[in-house]
Symmetry: C2
Subunit: 408 residues, 2 copies
Amino acid sequence: MIDMEFIENGSVTSVPGFQAAGVTAGFKKSGAPDFALVFSEHPASFAGVFTSCTFAAAPVLLGREKVLKGGTLRAFAINSGNANACTGAQGLENARKSCEIAAEKLGIPASDVVVASTGRIGVQMDMSLIEKGFDLAVPALSAQGGNDAARAIMTTDTVPKAVAVKVKINGVDVTIGAMTKGAGMIDPKLIAPHATMLCCIATDACADNGTLASMLLPCAQDSFNRITVDGDMSTNDTVILMANGKSGVKVLPGSSEYETLRQALLSVMQKLAREMVMDGEGATKFVTVKVVNARSDADAKLAAEAVANSVLCKTAWFGNDPNWGRVVAALGYSGAEFDPAKCNIYYDETPVVRDGGDAGTPESDLLDVVKKREFVITCDFGGGSGEYWVWSSDLSHEYVTINADYHT
Amino acid sequence: MIDMEFIENGSVTSVPGFQAAGVTAGFKKSGAPDFALVFSEHPASFAGVFTSCTFAAAPVLLGREKVLKGGTLRAFAINSGNANACTGAQGLENARKSCEIAAEKLGIPASDVVVASTGRIGVQMDMSLIEKGFDLAVPALSAQGGNDAARAIMTTDTVPKAVAVKVKINGVDVTIGAMTKGAGMIDPKLIAPHATMLCCIATDACADNGTLASMLLPCAQDSFNRITVDGDMSTNDTVILMANGKSGVKVLPGSSEYETLRQALLSVMQKLAREMVMDGEGATKFVTVKVVNARSDADAKLAAEAVANSVLCKTAWFGNDPNWGRVVAALGYSGAEFDPAKCNIYYDETPVVRDGGDAGTPESDLLDVVKKREFVITCDFGGGSGEYWVWSSDLSHEYVTINADYHT
């Protein structure tokens, strides 16, 4: 166990040496805040993971380039309302130009800036809005601005998502603060150095780029890569981790400091991942789908993801319907190899399926579970040690309303 | 071109030598017809394809066994309201018993009977209802009963689906009649001799089991296996093709007769497949997703199926939203390899994406297409000769209502 505590109203600016701002540049017609800037007072080491979508957005292409090139990072700017995706050479040029504008207004090298975008796909960026964004955000930067920034990156999110923890390493407090956004087009498969979830994580631990990278991808695999709202991966998913070293706590791979920081980072990323699913478009349920005793972890993953993404399962959850027939159907078509006759299924601790058939539990007991806001479906294949879990939401009328009417 | 015509109000009993009935045995609480029987006056050769779901239902296990064993077929009985899936040894025994009851009441060998079931998963069959089904259906069998049978196999279908064609082979009329059902849990991946769509096809062509099998699977691959309503494959999908030879037209593999019959069979199966998507749960749109000039057919299939199953694309279609960003996102995460910069997309004939970016077509022109009940999305990868198409429906409020409230 690590000695860790969550900071009340924590955010990226809970980390000493980081400033942030959230302003209204005009990308959103609603007039809501739509431009966020996170600034490190000192050059920070960094790592990034990005969407594996073939149609990766311009800022993603640029972000990958920067991760591969290495060096330090000072600023991470995010606009909401235009994804700068499918915008070709001009889109890429505009993303580069955004870095240059940031550099000029902040007095730092352009190579120390990473940008990210979310919103409508296929529309060229209005650069005057980017200019306005920096004009407003730079003077607004403050050590209290983390929650404003978290608000400015929202799209269909109903609540901002920010968190910070303090973890003791060698008796010293190390802080990790983070913000994320994303409620739809959520099924990130973040790959390195290649996630429309956007996430910015800051820490005052002292670690080089390689160390941060070695920590970030596995943590993404056990957090953001395990969530799904609609099974649609985005063109813009981006997670950036920055470390300014201000705590003086050196973190080297293989050390106990590394392990403690990794666990704290994972806690932060899992908390944000949970919040994204909880705030999934139209979501009324938070369902953990867990597959255990599978032939392999890969088989368990296939099976868990099939159930988590099944439109029939998700509508049943919305309807408080214990319908396990839809769960077994999804397991059956998942591609996982298992013996149906050995399959047991539980809703929380309540047996649903025993040896591939009805466990005989009274329907009312199953209803008690599926009526809850949050429950766990465990599928035990009884034939190995493979395991995997996924966090999913239900599919509601509200989801259809949001996505039939909302024009990204 | 083959000389083929559709028969008005055609059904399985448009085929000489076939009788059918649809009755109310009591499986459905509504009191609607729920038991269908198709009977061949003469021993018929046959072929079958079934779901590839690991949790295949008892009648599917039995049907596969019968297909492997070969011989002839006289009767195909289908109940709607209980899937006899996940019912273990007793379920299998009940399916066997159903064949025996049919045999006894029809005066034929039990080995000449195949049964299929659709409805709730995980409930043991009430055999008294099966008994009642045969008691009512056997005396009701008639050469006019095809449409009654088609009505009796419906679940959430809003219309019965039956069709028949006459095709001239060597100057002789050969008839193919068929019925199908299925509106939800529709994403069949029929494999041989292993498809909750249920389909019965009858013909008076004269062909042995092997010949029928060699024709049925490719036709399934180009019809039922290309449709999706919700991306959820069923435990019970079954297609049975019976040929009683009554036309006297001999059909041997590699012959021109074979090719003509195959084309007519494909027409029948494609018509039923289209009708299933048109009648998909809550569907208001029929969308063909076509990928062309891909690196391979397999890549084209990955890409087309990703778009066809994307919850975000399907809700956009419901909302008459031309949102091509969701299409490119789905292509991008499909796993297909292609160069985004060479990708062109069309809604019907209207350019939407050119070279990976906005084609500049006025939004109103795109709206004109996506407002239609039926349109085609063509994605041209510009890098090979691989092709694939899929038929899909939209995802509406009605879909959520049906599946959050309907307890299978």
